[in-house]
């Protein structure tokens, strides 16, 4: 199709938005609410993921070895740990290093250690896992290795966090799905109204040889245009909401830092991605709504 005729169809679609103002506004509103919630959920998820990542980064499993472990066994344990694909980092602490560390950490009581005859610290491996959800599995595997006395792992906190994330994903997913369905239904009704208002024109178009693409394009433009407007508006609102939530956390983060939370991702870092996602999702919802209203009703 020629550019001039594509322009003509696009103009026709956009002008239809104003002619059909009340229904267009209904579609715009519901799409905006949906996209606002989509945007906020995505931002929340991004932040939760950042927190998870912070925890994962500091996430160490401490493996204490038995008192009587031989040097050969230590080498064996190290090679087993290094071969495990879930483990990303392995660090070994000898008895001496462990004591030294303890001494440094507890400087005030270091003199007490001088009274010790033996070094009471066990030999230790510190390992990190790539995926927090596999931590329990990794711990189980390690505990079966000969020479391992005790394992310390932060899986309780990890599993709580994982559970929160999974539950949230499930609820947000269900709410979003419902909103998406409602949005599509409303958009499709709006377009249907538009099709009905132009039924006479459409029947004439058929007689004079319009292809079905020619007839349908303005309706797609209409649906997608509403979607993009709603996406942009939702983006503005998301920004406002996000900024006010950010300011809540700006005061004192000491408590939160314990949980791996070092403040929200600044909106300016992600604003363009959010805008693109919002408008893209809006256009997609608009297009899908249009498919439902034009598929059956517009046969050449």
């Amino acid at each position: 199709m020629r550019t001039s005729n594509v322009t003509y169809l696009v103009k026709k679609g956009i002008s239809s938005v104003w002619k059909n103002l009340l229904m267009s506004f209904a579609s715009f509103s519901i799409l905006m609410v949906s996209l606002l919630l989509v945007g906020c959920s995505v931002l929340l998820m991004m932040n939760v993921n950042t927190i998870m990542k912070n925890i994962e980064d500091t996430n160490e499993i401490t493996i204490y070895l038995k008192e009587d472990v031989s040097e050969k066994q230590v080498t064996h344990i190290r090679s087993v740990l290094e071969k495990n694909t879930d483990i990303t980092e392995v660090t070994y602490y000898s008895k001496e290093q462990a004591l030294e560390d303890f001494r440094n950490n507890m400087a005030e009581y270091s003199e007490l250690l001088d009274y010790l005859d033996d070094n009471p610290m066990p030999e230790t491996f510190l390992v990190r896992v790539a995926d927090l959800s596999k931590i329990r599995h990794v711990v189980n595997t390690i505990s079966e290795i000969e020479g391992v006395e005790k394992i310390k792992a932060p899986y309780d906190f990890a599993s709580v966090l994982l559970q929160i994330r999974n539950t949230f994903t499930l609820i947000a997913g269900a709410v979003l799905l419902a909103l998406v369905v409602v949005s599509i239904v409303i958009v499709s009704n709006t377009i249907r109204t538009s099709v009905f208002a132009r039924r006479n024109e459409i029947s004439i178009m058929r007689y004079v040889g319009a292809t079905s693409a020619f007839i349908k394009t303005p309706f797609f433009v209409e649906g997608m245009f509403i979607g993009i407007l709603a996406g942009a508006a939702a983006w503005g609102l998301t920004w406002l909401v996000y900024d006010s939530v950010s300011s809540l956390f700006s005061a004192d983060l000491t408590l939160w830092q314990m949980f791996g939370f070092y403040g929200l991702i600044p909106f300016s870092d992600i604003m363009w991605i959010v805008l693109a996602v919002n408008c893209g999702a809006g256009a997609l919802l608009g297009a899908v709504g249009t498919v439902f209203s034009t598929g059956k009703y517009l046969k050449v």
Binding site: M1, R2, S4, S203, R206, Y207, V208, G209, T211
Partner: protein, 229 residues
């Protein structure tokens, strides 16, 4: 060229709309199709515009085998014919110029071509001065001339006019037929005009096809009274 071979149309309601129709209309002919209401004229028009396909038999129009024409090919085929209806079927929101330009857009013509072509066809139907008027502001005869201009826009080899004088002042009916005759004579466009107005047919004469109860009962040339004068 229009050709129907052993065509039967049987509607699901149980009506046999057309029975064993054999018909051939050559390029450049002007043909009246006459018959009372319910005789099968509309069904015949629907076959020739590929709104329906025959239950049995074959339909060829402008080199298209309409039994096998589907999807966007139907759109392409319809651009090769011009349609004129009893109720004009103009788009009320668009002015005269835009109504004609509209079909050229649909045929994917350039804006430059449209700007040349629309005034030209409006001139042919003597409506150059009304280009900016809306259909509502025109008389029935003028609206039908806009519809004829629209049918001419794509320079079709065939124009099918379905009761084009049905909604207009009888005195103006003659002007409309005269206009179609002119187009037929000057451009060699094949014209099929469906009508139930016998006076009009008698006046102009030419090839007449009469349909009754779904069958062709008469197909021959008669002399028109205007030729006798």
């Amino acid at each position: 060229m229009v050709e129907l071979k052993n065509v039967n149309v049987h509607y699901s309601s149980g009506v046999d709309a057309l029975q064993d129709i054999n018909l051939r209309i050559n390029d450049g002919e002007f043909v009246f199709i006459v018959g009372g209401s319910g005789a099968g004229k509309s069904t015949l028009v629907k076959l020739m515009t590929r709104e329906i396909t025959p239950t049995t038999g074959r339909v060829f129009v402008n080199g298209y085998n309409l039994n096998k024409t589907k999807g966007n090919k139907i759109a392409k085929f319809r651009r090769s014919i011009g349609m004129v209806f009893q109720d004009f079927r103009l788009i009320q929101e668009l002015n005269v110029y835009e109504n004609v330009a509209f079909v050229l857009r649909i045929a994917d013509q350039s804006t430059r071509f449209i700007k040349q072509r629309v005034p030209y066809v409006l001139n042919l139907v003597d409506l150059a001065g009304k280009a900016r008027s809306k259909p509502k502001e025109l008389s029935g005869g003028e609206q039908q001339r806009v519809a004829i201009a629209r049918a001419l826009a794509n320079d079709p080899g065939l124009i099918i006019a379905d009761e084009p004088t049905g909604n207009i002042d009888p005195r103006l009916s003659y002007e409309i037929v005269e206009l179609l005759k002119d187009i037929n004579r000057s451009a060699g466009t094949t014209i099929i005009m469906v009508t139930h107005e016998h006076d009009l047919v008698k006046h102009f004469g030419g090839r007449i096809i009469n349909i009754q109860d779904g069958a062709i009962t008469f197909d021959d040339n008669i002399g028109g009274s205007d030729e006798d004068e």
